[in-house]
């Protein structure tokens, strides 16, 4: 697979085959990809909490908000929820800032997941106070992002942003998820 194909196949997936098991060694392989990522001043202040336990997954799920533009959709139903989560943490014993380290690290995680036939979604709409209690974090660890992972069971299609400029994703009657993307011409200033 070319890197461009990998990038194209790396969609934000929000519906999964929940029965599919992602084992801890697979999650550790994905964290290994973040070890080799660039880090501002090479400080590497990010840590990771892994869950592939169905009971813990259910509790984590309850702290997350899904797909803000799909007002009628409260998130994936039971059976279509993620098989695993990676909670991205800032270790304040190391540093109080993390520049764009999280985006870099999570992109490695998600692209690595796609190569393994998995997929996922970055979630930043998190009840952090509740999730901190659920996973019993030490006081030096701050939740930054959550990456949901699973075996995708939805079709995501990229489209062009139309003349009205609307970038909101939407679903058709068959549940196909469409994501409008800006044109190359619009992105390149000069």
């Amino acid at each position: 697979m070319t890197f461009k194909d990998l990038v194209r196949n790396n969609r934000s997936y929000r519906r999964f085959d929940e029965q599919f098991v992602i084992d801890r060694s697979t999650l550790a392989d994905l964290i290994e990809l973040t070890r080799f990522a660039a880090s501002g001043r090479n400080v590497q202040p990010l840590k990771y909490f892994l869950s592939n336990d169905p009971n813990l997954n259910e509790q984590i799920f309850s702290t997350l908000a899904w797909a803000g533009y799909l007002k009628e959709w409260p998130g994936p139903v039971k059976g279509e929820r993620p098989s695993a989560y990676i909670i991205v943490l800032l270790d304040h014993h190391i540093a109080h800032n993390y520049f764009c380290d999280d985006g870099i690290a999570m992109q490695n995680i998600l692209l690595g997941a796609v190569e393994k036939g998995l997929g996922g979604c970055i979630i930043q709409s998190i009840n952090k106070a509740r999730l901190t209690k659920i996973v019993q974090l030490a006081s030096n660890l701050e939740i930054i992002d959550v990456v949901a992972l699973g075996k995708p069971v939805e079709t995501v299609v990229l489209t062009d942003v139309g003349p009205d400029g609307d970038i909101r994703y939407f679903r058709d009657a068959d549940g196909v998820h469409f994501v409008p993307k800006r044109s190359l011409d619009e992105l390149i200033v000069k």
Copy 2:
């Protein structure tokens, strides 16, 4: 090349064969990889200014600080400077925040560059006021990051962080650049 190899080969390179030409279509290919990247709420507020012009490159170079830990090294000498730059911009006409979109987009750019036999470095230590004037940005565009790109001419070696916990990169007498990375065990909280 497996994705893991691509990630391992994607080091922060700071010395290049400056004579090597990166044409605009190559830069546009890399921006195309950012089009397919995840964006918080899919807003896609980032834009890109491209330079592969030697004169403009020299002016851009003068606004950047290189490798903070290498106190004796003011940055690459003439002949080893980047062949191109991608300046990452936030378009305030679209949004005033960008979550971790820049890390995601720049990781796509850099991994795509490595696949093409190129390499680069994310720079956030930028004289933004001067660079804004040099590239004559419209007032709605704010400089966020700079990605320097070229044909690498240096060897970068990953090592483990030692017991003293020192994460500062360093060079040996032959100019080999060593980057200490934390262990997988240290990164995984649970």
